[in-house]
Symmetry: none
Subunit: 257 residues, 2 copies
C-alpha cells in the first residue's frame, strides 16, 4: 500500500466512522504505531483532521454524523457499482438504468473495454463521454427528474426495438414477498420493459433498499437472474434470495482503499 493511499484510507475511515484510533488502524494495516501517528500528524498539519490523544477526529465535529452517513451510503454504492461492472465482459451489450448506483456502475466500466451501452438516462450517457471504446445508444422520452431517466410511451416503444445481454436495474425496494419496486409508476413500467429486452436482469441493491417495498411493483424478485448486494447484507437474506434462483454477487475481497 502506497503512503498516499494510506492517508486517503485514514481520511475515509474518519469520514465513515467519525473517529480514528491510531493503534487499531496500525494493527489493521500491519504497520507500526509510529507510522500511523506520523500520518495523522501530517494530515493534521494540512488541516484535514483534528489530532487528539490516541487518534484523530474530524475538523468539524458538528457535521461528522451527517458526513459519516453520506460516506457510508456512497461507499456502499461504489462497492456495488464496482462489483456490477466486473460482470460486464468485453463485447457485451448492456442496458444501464438511471440512479446513483447505476452511475457508479457506469464509472467503473473499464475505459479500454469495448462494449455497447444502452441507457435512458442522460446522466449515464454523459458519464460515458470519456469511454471512447464504448458505443452508447440513448433511449429518448420525457425526462423524469427525480432519477434523471427518460420515461413515457416513446421510451417504451424505443426500448422494444433493442436486445441486450444484461440489464442492470436499480430499484428503491427489494423484498422477498413484495418483489422489486420503485416510487414512480412510469419508471416501473420502463424497468419492466427493459428487463424484457435483456437476456439477464441484474438488480443492484444497496443495503438501505433491502426489505423495503415501494409503491409501484416492477416485477417479482425471482424474475431477475442476479442481484448485486453490499457486503453488509445479512447471510440469511443472501440464502433466501439464492433459494429463489437468483445469482448473488457480493464484493469478494478487500481491494484496498
Amino acid at each position: 500500500m502506497l503512503t498516499e493511499e494510506r492517508k486517503t484510507f485514514l481520511l475515509d475511515t474518519l469520514a465513515i466512522d467519525g473517529r480514528i484510533e491510531a493503534k487499531a488502524v496500525a494493527k489493521e494495516l500491519g504497520l507500526s504505531d509510529d507510522t500511523i501517528r506520523r500520518d495523522l500528524r501530517e494530515l493534521a498539519a494540512a488541516g484535514k483532521l483534528q489530532r487528539v490523544h490516541g487518534g484523530a477526529l474530524p475538523t468539524s465535529p458538528a457535521d461528522a454524523d451527517l458526513n459519516a452517513r453520506k460516506a457510508i451510503a456512497s461507499k456502499s454504492k461504489q462497492e456495488i457499482g464496482k462489483t456490477a461492472a466486473s460482470l460486464i465482459k468485453p463485447g457485451q451489450v448492456v442496458i444501464i438504468d438511471g440512479g446513483t448506483t447505476a452511475l457508479e456502475l457506469t464509472k467503473n466500466i473499464p475505459k479500454n473495454q469495448e462494449n455497447t451501452v444502452i441507457t435512458h438516462s442522460p446522466t449515464v450517457a454523459v458519464a460515458l463521454a470519456a469511454h471512447v471504446k464504448t458505443k452508447v445508444i440513448m433511449i429518448g422520452g420525457t425526462l423524469f427528474r427525480h432519477s434523471m431517466v427518460n420515461v413515457g410511451a416513446a421510451t417504451v416503444e424505443a426500448a422494444s426495438r433493442i436486445r441486450a445481454d444484461f440489464f442492470f436495474m436499480g430499484v428503491t425496494g427489494v423484498d422477498i414477498n413484495a418483489g422489486l419496486s420503485t416510487g414512480d409508476m412510469e419508471e416501473a413500467h420502463i424497468k419492466r420493459a427493459l428487463s424484457q429486452r435483456a437476456a439477464e436482469t441484474v438488480v443492484m441493491a444497496s443495503s438501505e433498499k433491502i426489505g423495503v417495498a415501494s409503491t409501484y411493483v416492477v416485477m417479482p424478485l425471482e424474475q431477475a437472474s442476479g442481484i448485486v448486494l453490499g457486503q453488509n447484507t445479512p447471510m440469511q437474506l443472501r440464502k433466501d434470495i439464492k433459494k429463489l434462483g437468483l445469482e448473488v454477487f457480493v464484493k469478494k475481497h478487500n481491494d484496498g482503499a
Copy 2:
C-alpha cells in the same frame, strides 16, 4: 511494446485499478523500474496522473475541479447563449441543439420560466436538471461523442414526431455562399431534420465560425429565420445576413460580466 503504448497501458491501469505501483508494473512488463518511473514522471507533468512515492494515483478531485473550470465556454459563447435564451418566451416549446454554445443557452434559460425543451443532447438534458419548471423531452439515438448529441435513423424518426416554436441550432461554419455547415454528416442530417420541425430556426454563431465552411452543409443560410452573433461581428456582415431575410440578434448593452 512501444513507449506510447506503455503510457496508455499505465493510464488504463490507473483507470481500472485506481492506483499504480511502479515496481509491480515494471516487473509485469519486464522493464526496469527506471523506465516506468520516467513514464510516470512524464505523465504527471502532462497532468494525466498524480505522482506519489512508490507509484501513482488518479489526479485528485481538486485538480478535476480545475479542469472543469478550464472547460468553461469563452466569453463570446456565454454572451451568445444569454442573448439566445432571452428570445425564449414563457410557455414556448424549443428544440436545443448540442455543443458548447447551446449548453450556454441552456444554462441561461430562467429557472422559474415554464417551457418545454426538446433536445437530442444528454449534456443539455443534464444541464436542465435544476430547471424544475421546464419539461424536458429527450430524443434518443446513437451518441456522437464529439458534440455529445444523439444521431442516426432513430433520432430522425423520433424528431419527425415533434413540433416546436424554435430550434436553436449550433454549427461550425456560417458562410453567406456556402450556407450553414458542420463537420459530421450524421449531425448535419439531424440538424436539417430538427429545423423542419420548428416554426423558426435560430442559428448561434460565435465569431470563429463566421466565414467558415465545414465539410457537410446543413442548409442554405436564408433558410434560417434568425441568427445570434457576437458583438465583435463586422457590421458589413450583419447587413449582408439581414439582406438574406434573417433577423440578426446581438447583445444589446453591457449587462456587466
